[in-house]
């Protein structure tokens, strides 16, 4: 827009405002705004993560994700999802109580860990979508911890067990009905084998 046009516009606005108020001169105040929107450096590509932070005792966590014949790495061990897949435990709505009907699965997992002292266990806690997201992240953790507790009661050393909550972020069934929800409220056992 050229200067003449802007000037003309301002004159028009002042004239219009005078016509409307009718009695007092009100010059148009020009408010200059800072140029450009906020640019986020590194926003598109986060910088590499430095080591450190507040690490738990003795943890060396691998990057994960790299598939090795279906096995991924976890804390320097190979995660075997298939070995205990038949023993996934299901929960009631909004509950972290391990039901009696699910206990045979817990017994089987305890037996597998006792049979091979070189393996460890990762327990994943999951929720259905009928809860708020961070509430579900906490509930999923409590489910995983309840299964850990049940295994410890059956003689598995607690230091062999890690827990992770995915909340509602990793459903097995993406549906939005009771059938899907029942499948998604679960605890999964992932066997960790030495490399």
């Amino acid at each position: 827009m050229n200067v003449n046009k802007l000037t003309y516009l301002l004159i028009c606005v002042v004239a219009a405002s005078l016509a409307a108020t009718g009695c007092k001169k009100k010059p148009v105040v020009v408010t200059p705004l800072p140029q450009g929107r906020t640019v986020l450096p590194g926003g598109e590509k986060p910088s590499e993560l430095p080591e450190g932070g507040k690490l738990g005792p003795g943890e060396q966590v691998g990057t994960g994700g790299g598939a090795l014949a279906g096995l991924e790495e976890f804390e320097g061990m190979l995660a075997d999802r298939a070995a205990l897949a038949a023993h996934t435990v299901h929960f009631d709505f909004d509950s972290a109580v391990v039901k009696k009907s699910e206990l045979p699965h817990v017994e089987a997992v305890a037996a597998a860990l006792k049979a091979d002292p070189t393996v460890k266990l990762l327990i994943e806690g999951h929720c259905d979508e009928r809860g708020t997201e961070e509430y579900n992240r906490a509930l999923g953790e409590r489910r995983a911890l309840a299964l850990r507790e049940a295994l410890v009661k059956r003689g598995v050393a607690p230091e062999r067990i890690r827990t992770i909550s995915y909340g509602e972020d990793r459903p097995v069934d993406p549906g939005h009905n009771e059938e899907a929800w029942a499948k998604n409220r679960r605890g999964e056992f992932v066997l960790l084998r030495p490399k």
Partner: protein, 405 residues
Amino acid sequence: MNLNLSSVVLPVSRRLRRAMPPVACAVALLCVPLPVRAQADLVEITREVVPGASRPIPVSVSGFTGEALAVIEFDLYVQGFSFTTPDAAQFLLSGSNDGSLTGRAMDRINKSLLVNKSYTGATLRRQAHAFVEDFIRAIGRVPIDASKKIAFKLDTGANSEIYVADFDGYGAQAVTRDNTIVAAPAWVPGRLALYYTSYRLGNPDIFFHDLSTGQRRVFARYPGLNTSAAPSPDGRRVAMILSKGGSPDVYVADADGGNLVQLTHTAADESSPCWSPDGRWICFATKINERRVLAKVPASGGALQVISTRGVSNPSEPDWSPDGKWIVFTAQMGGFEICVVPAEGGTATVLVSGEDPSWAGNSRTVIFARRQGGRRVLSLLDVPTKQAKDASRFSGSSSQPSWAR
């Protein structure tokens, strides 16, 4: 419902008459042919938030077009204004946006000129936001500060990443590219910096990310759950949920991660901590006798106190208003409802369907996530009038909004 509304109900016309020189002259009266409407039609401008009980203020908007008009109408709607013809409006907003924006706001009742400005620079959108801010400030209210951004979780298929955008959803930018679950963003007050939860290192860990430099670091990475970081109003401490003690509990640490203190010791799972604006309390969701409740503990440690939310059940995701008066939260009663309760507890008011609310700095507007089919969309809510409107859409499911303040 006891809303403690004894104070400061200010009819705007009287307030402004006091502020303005006596300019009502014969010419003005002749220029505006319609008589002053009955006093009963006036909506009182009040500094108090009256959740869900206020009538929108009728305004007329003329002269603007296209994007500028859309921005002005959106900003006014989510701050409690409705649109009508000039003869029925309490305030008249007019102007033009040929190149840059010129805006004028008048009180139709007492004929006072509230805003008469031209805006240059930045973008037309920013100019339109600035005009609405000037108008709302001129009638004695605190406007939404359009320079404050929102952060949110955007689902990208199986994963999710953190994005930031203007409060109306425009100009979205990715903050993370972790190719895993990234969730629960929270702004550091007064800074372009976020805390959030990322599974990038194989575990839900809390990261601190300074968006002004692009640098980030691991903030909390204990065995088990590390999530729901909430920086204190002065930014010096961070409340969070950790499960390293055997159950998800509320902890607080210094901003460098040191001086970690466990604030709750329950067998139940706590979630979603937030701070009182004076920094003295941390409010969160927990369970007592298998009943879900909101509770608070002193930030320096101490006994847990329940915050009553009479009338609704299963509260979670509290957020304390910046003026200290209200706690907005999600109640789960079949669906999810955004509710508000006085900060000291009391009877809750159900506002609109949705979840995970976050207050704007004006202690009046809230951003939340609304379920639509299988996904979530971000929406803005004017708490006093219950007027709600979706922010601009993203291709994936967007949730967990945090409004910078």
